[in-house]
């Protein structure tokens, strides 16, 4: 690693400030506050995990980070600059540095295009180099994700799920991005293959200096791959910190409940005696609860939690939480 990049490592590559994203419901009668006031930095070279149940706003954040949708309020800075302030042309070339990959490779690949043609497509749209140069880059990307040469001539239906996801990764790599948002990228893969793809992400990060925002509902996956993790609930972050801290010394009652709910493949002698089973389901983001949004399911809720929104505070170095009582020691069941 060169001195310059060593210095840069850990600097924010993305800064998110008071991000809000709102949607109209399909009948246009109500507003969904899909993301409602989120703050964080993604540091260069890290894997930043975002965990939360479905509907909590993870995908919406991911899409906003790569400007597939525009914030309703707040700001997203890439390397300190606001991409929305760029000219159209500058914006088009800038956004190549920030890619996103989704769960379903079938949705990302055209069934009538060969694998090579699919991987070439972004290069062609961006008019990078000559035709032979583009083809060289596409083949190189396929090789990087561990697909043999002859796969270039095949069609998506001839590949397994894991292989197709590799093609999608290759496609994102061709434009040499700095950051990739990975949204549930291993959720659709079988267990025995998931490990392979996670290993590939780790290898690519090491070799290419990539930064990842890794979005998943799977606690074990996020613990495995990320250095820091944010826990989302109903459009907001409730906790953010180093993965080890969050997984082993969680501060927020929701994080504690999530960890407790995770079924673990451990023999009975090693499993927790009692688990916290949260009551009810996540309320609607159209009309979230007042005060702390988790209060309708929180086993520790107090009158104050209805009245006041908990502050987002750094309770321990680098470890943030939004709960009025997170500094009280009796939250954890252990």
């Amino acid at each position: 690693m060169t001195a310059a990049s060593a210095e840069q490592r850990g600097e924010p590559i993305v800064s998110v400030r008071d991000l809000q994203v709102r949607f109209q419901t399909s009948d246009r009668r109500a507003t969904v506050k899909a993301v409602d006031g989120v703050n964080f930095d993604v540091r260069r070279g890290e894997t930043f995990g975002i965990i939360g149940e479905s509907g909590s706003g993870k995908t919406t954040i991911g899409r906003a980070l790569v400007f597939l949708l525009n914030p309703s309020a707040g700001a997203i800075l890439h390397d300190g600059i606001d991409p929305l302030a760029l000219s159209r042309r500058e914006f088009q070339s800038h956004r190549r540095d920030y890619q996103i990959i989704f769960q379903d490779p079938n949705a990302a690949l055209n069934p009538r295009m060969t694998i090579l043609a699919s991987v070439l497509e972004p290069l062609e749209l961006a008019r990078v180099g000559s035709r032979t140069e583009r083809e060289r880059q596409a083949r190189e990307a396929l090789e990087r994700v561990g697909l043999p040469q002859e796969f270039g001539e095949r069609y998506p239906h001839q590949l397994s799920g894991g292989q197709k996801q590799r093609v999608v990764i290759a496609r994102a790599l061709t434009l040499k991005p700095k950051l990739i948002v990975c949204d549930e990228v291993v959720a659709a893969l079988d267990m025995s293959i998931r490990g392979d793809v996670l290993n590939l992400f780790a290898d690519l990060q090491r070799d290419l200096g990539l930064t990842y925002v890794f979005i998943t509902h799977d606690l074990a996956v996020v613990s495995h791959i990320s250095e820091r993790v944010a826990v989302m609930y109903l459009g907001q972050f409730v906790e953010l910190g180093p993965t080890e801290e969050v997984a082993e010394r969680p501060l927020h009652p929701y994080t504690i409940a999530l960890l407790s709910a995770e079924p673990r493949p451990l023999p009975s002698s090693m499993r927790q005696e009692s688990r916290i089973v949260l009551q009810g389901e996540v309320p609607s983001p159209i009309d979230p609860p007042s005060g702390c949004r988790f209060r309708t399911r929180c086993p520790h809720a107090q009158p104050l939690c209805t009245e006041r929104v908990p502050e987002w505070r750094e309770l321990k170095p680098d470890h943030w939480v939004a709960c009025h009582f997170a500094d009280r020691p009796n939250f954890s069941p252990n």
């Binding site: 267990m191 495995h224 407790s260 009975s268 002698s269 389901e281």
Partner: protein, 358 residues
């Protein structure tokens, strides 16, 4: 003695003692496709004791769903033949008439699926559907059916069931629909509930609620549970015994604790090792190369051979599901000499792995 150990002891006692509730012997299913007739599952042997909770695990395509469906004889249209016996309480379901099967299905054996919408009819209220199941199988009046439906909805954890009973399925959340489906499946008090990936589409906090419900119902009503899932954590939390399937066959059968700590089959061990753990490690995850063969390309001999790190001369022979002692079974002739790691294999020391990443 912990709760889990106690449950395990009970299940061992149950297995050795009473006649099994379900006894599957040599079960195989064939399908017709445009390329001919293919064997999807074969030589499936297992027992489920009354009230026992058994997990059926394996990756997708291993034959778990087909096995569940064949017990109820709910096979797809291109079904081309069934071999073997399915003894349920002494009756061979494989040779029952369609009428006899209708009397068993829903009453003595019930099944729930990953997507409750596929089993619930969108044009009827949930109350109507549950009550209907009851009225088909027993001679109860409308009023009593409604009363019992309300009670069952309450039992499966639906708050204010009086308000929900006249809702249509689309008005309910995913977790709520799964509860309704469980209520419908349990209303006739079946002896066996087959649950095919019942929590796969649900969030983890709702999954925990549903698994607790299934466990609780099986304990209080002595309903046996056959829980089909790809998630080994779900089996560990819910079941006492684990049957692993690979490429249409049963390859291991053991108590959950034995299978997790000391798996005997290389496939079971590989699955356990490939799981990321909650305690952050950041090391490389072991994986199993290759993939589950499709029904048209089943290899001869041990079906796991092409992916097995322990394949040796001798593995090209057909493998029998053999007795491994202590009530365990395994389909691998090398099991005694292989000392395979389970879920508790020593994790990569995270510090050194992390340095390697930088």
């Amino acid at each position: 003695m912990g709760e889990g150990q106690l449950a395990q002891r009970k299940s061992e006692v149950a297995r050795e003692g009473a006649r099994p509730l379900l006894s599957v012997r040599g079960l195989g299913i064939r399908f017709k496709t445009t390329q001919g007739i293919w064997q999807a599952t074969r030589r499936i042997d297992f027992d489920i004791a009354p009230g026992e909770r058994v997990g059926i695990v394996g990756e997708s395509g291993c034959g778990k769903t087909i096995t569940g469906l064949s017990i109820l004889r709910l096979l797809p249209g291109n079904f081309a033949g069934l071999d073997g016996k399915i003894l349920f309480d002494g009756v061979d379901l494989a040779s029952c008439s369609a009428r006899q099967m209708r009397a068993i299905r829903g009453k003595r054996i019930a099944m729930i699926f990953q997507e409750p919408m596929s089993a619930l009819d969108p044009v009827f209220t949930v109350g109507h559907q549950i009550a209907e199941t009851l009225r088909v199988h027993s001679n109860v009046g409308e009023e009593e059916a409604r009363a019992r439906t309300l009670e069952m909805l309450r039992r499966v954890g639906i708050a204010s069931p009086e308000r929900r009973i006249d809702d249509y399925p689309h008005q309910l959340s995913g977790g709520m629909r799964q509860r309704v489906m469980i209520a419908a499946s349990l209303i006739c008090g079946p002896q066996l509930l087959i649950a095919d990936e019942p929590t796969t589409a649900l969030d983890v906090t709702v999954q925990a609620q549903i698994l607790e419900l299934l466990r609780d119902i099986s304990e209080t009503s002595k309903t046996a549970l056959m829980l089909i899932t790809h998630d080994l954590g779900v089996v560990a939390e819910t079941c006492t015994r684990m049957i692993t399937m690979y490429a249409g066959e049963v390859i291991e059968d053991a108590t959950v604790d034995e299978a997790l700590v000391r798996p005997l089959h290389p496939y079971t061990s590989g699955l356990l090792r490939s799981l990321p753990h909650l305690s952050p490690r950041h090391g490389r995850l072991p994986s199993i190369p290759g993939r589950v063969p499709s029904i048209t390309e089943m290899p001869a001999g041990c079906r796991f051979r092409a992916r097995c790190a322990h394949a040796a001369k001798g593995c090209e022979a057909e493998q029998k599901l053999q007795d491994a002692g202590g009530g365990r079974k395994v389909r691998c002739w090398r099991f005694a000499e292989l000392n395979l790691p389970g879920a508790l294999h020593p994790p990569d020391t995270s510090a050194s792995a992390r340095v390697a990443r930088q």
